[in-house]
């Protein structure tokens, strides 16, 4: 499998704090990769670096052989990186359809002239992309509802739908299972597996170990901004360094 996302010795400092410290890792095309680590390990910061939310202090991130460090986040999105957020960031005062359409607009590009001329082709493309993403996430029947009226679980799918409307090659999910009950969590795992089977590469951060270990083919472990382990769920479960990072060393006790 070829590398889709390459994170090469990436560092991010906030003043005196080094949130991500020389992280190196690869996500290959078609993989389901989990990123775990204790609170404050730098996982969300790493996600923000990948999606261009925050610039890297040092190192390089490449997507499909394109150098992404220095790109704006809309350029990274158009390249094929879709993401969701840890604390849901839906557009509450817009309908479900309009929320998802934003991803499709991002993929198709927007033009003030096309809007003035009421370009039919562009509008049809956005509509088709939006409906396809709504169908994949089971939100078709709720298309006309205001996003603020959806249940918490539905909002999670709404965020995923919006990212899918970008038709991303890589989907980045930041704590997708947070706040879901057991049934919803296993439904979500099955859903992510289906997306992956349809050809989307998935990278996710999650605290729910059962979810990550059951879903991901490979897991990277982060602690204090560094990668301390990288392997199959079974390997990670046996890794001494990982256990120490989560449970502390004998000396600490």
């Amino acid at each position: 499998m070829s590398a889709l996302l390459e994170i090469d010795n990436v560092t991010r400092r906030f003043g005196g704090l080094t949130a991500v410290d020389g992280f190196t890792g690869v996500v290959r095309r078609g993989e389901r990769v989990g990123l775990i680590g204790p609170n404050g390990a730098g996982k969300t910061t790493l996600f923000n670096l990948i999606s261009g939310f925050t610039p890297v202090s040092a190192g390089e991130i490449r997507f499909d052989a394109h150098l992404m460090s220095g790109m704006k986040s809309f350029q990274i999105a158009r390249l094929g990186v879709g993401r969701t957020f840890q604390n849901l960031r839906i557009f509450p005062n817009m309908t479900v359809f309009d929320n998802v359409s934003v991803g499709a607009i991002g993929a198709a590009g927007h033009s003030v002239w096309q809007a003035l001329a009421r370009d039919r082709g562009a509008a049809e493309k956005v509509s088709a992309g939006t409906w396809a993403a709504l169908e994949r996430t089971g939100l078709t029947a709720l298309a006309g509802q205001l996003a603020a009226n959806l249940s918490y679980g539905r909002r999670k799918y709404l965020e995923i739908a919006r990212a899918l409307a970008l038709e991303p090659e890589l989907l980045i999910l930041d704590e997708p299972a947070a706040g879901l009950n057991d049934t919803e969590t296993s439904e979500l795992a099955a859903f992510v597996e289906r997306l992956n089977a349809d050809g989307t590469t998935v990278l996710l951060v999650e605290h729910d170990m059962g979810f990550v270990m059951g879903l991901c083919q490979r897991v990277m472990v982060m602690a204090s901004g560094r990668k301390i382990a990288d392997g199959t769920p079974a390997e990670i479960g046996r890794d001494r360094q990982v256990l120490e990072a989560y449970l502390g060393t004998e000396d600490d006790a």
């Binding site: 261009g52 809309f74 557009f91 005062n93 309009d98 359409s101 607009i105 809007a115 956005v126 006309g144």
Partner: protein, 329 residues
Amino acid sequence: MNGSRQAPVLALGALFVVVPLVLYLSGSGYAFRVATTIGVFCILTVSANFITGTTGLLSLGHAAFYGIGAYAAALAATSFGWPFWITLPFAGLVTSVIGILLALPTMRLVSIHFAVATLGLGEIIHVTLLNWVDFTRGPMGIPAIPGIAIPGLFKASDVGNYFAVAVIGAIAVFAIHRLTHSYYGNALRALREDDQCAETMGLDIVRLKIEVFAVSCFFAGVAGALWSHTTGYISPNDFRFNESILILAMIVVGGLGSIPGAIVGATLLLALPEVLRPIGDYRMIVVGSVMFLSILFLPRGIFGEVSALDLMRRQFGAAWRRDGRVGWR
């Protein structure tokens, strides 16, 4: 298909037949002058609503851009003798260009910071109009601006002014309607709701902001040109901060983000003092109370964005599917 598009037909019918007929029957040029002022302010509120309501960038300098357009048209007409059909687009373009140049440094700003920056811009423009006496005649203003006329066809008159403002206003509202009630409008609303998140969805937010500023300033400039030609005299005091606040009050009372709301707001707050003229100075208390109570009981406005978008989707939306009109064509 045609049966579903009653709203624009009704609006155009009211604008070009019913309202002028009522004004004519009232038998005074004054009524036409009030209606003309309302028309100019409708262009202003619809353009201000585009940037502040739909895109969520609180602009406190809209009256200043209106002033740039008014001065551009007045100076071009009095110095070069240009006719109104040239000064009108000229004023729009000048305002648009100056607006973009002034606004470029503010494009990274959001919320209250953008508002304060536009407040500063508005003051700079006002003080420039007031003190650049060689060019603008300063506080004396510009008198004797030619009216709207086409030689041999029609002479400048109150009725002619009304129809000129009505035609230009209809074009302005049509253009902004297309930008608002479309996927482009969805992009702008997403930018308003969460600009960072919108950018990670692939929207070029800096480009969107510049485009919105250009369009909004263009029509503010056109409104200014119409004001110059219909009143015949302008001075810097017409374009002060309190005018910006009045425009803002109109779009908030009408409904932020709603084009029909912007029109309702401008019409209500300008027509009310005229209708209430018999009760003298008490009328301003009534106008203030209407503003206060409408915000208290209708915080989303008299014709809020959600209902406006619902109406427009029924009129101009597209389903691309059997199950309901939720998208734009």
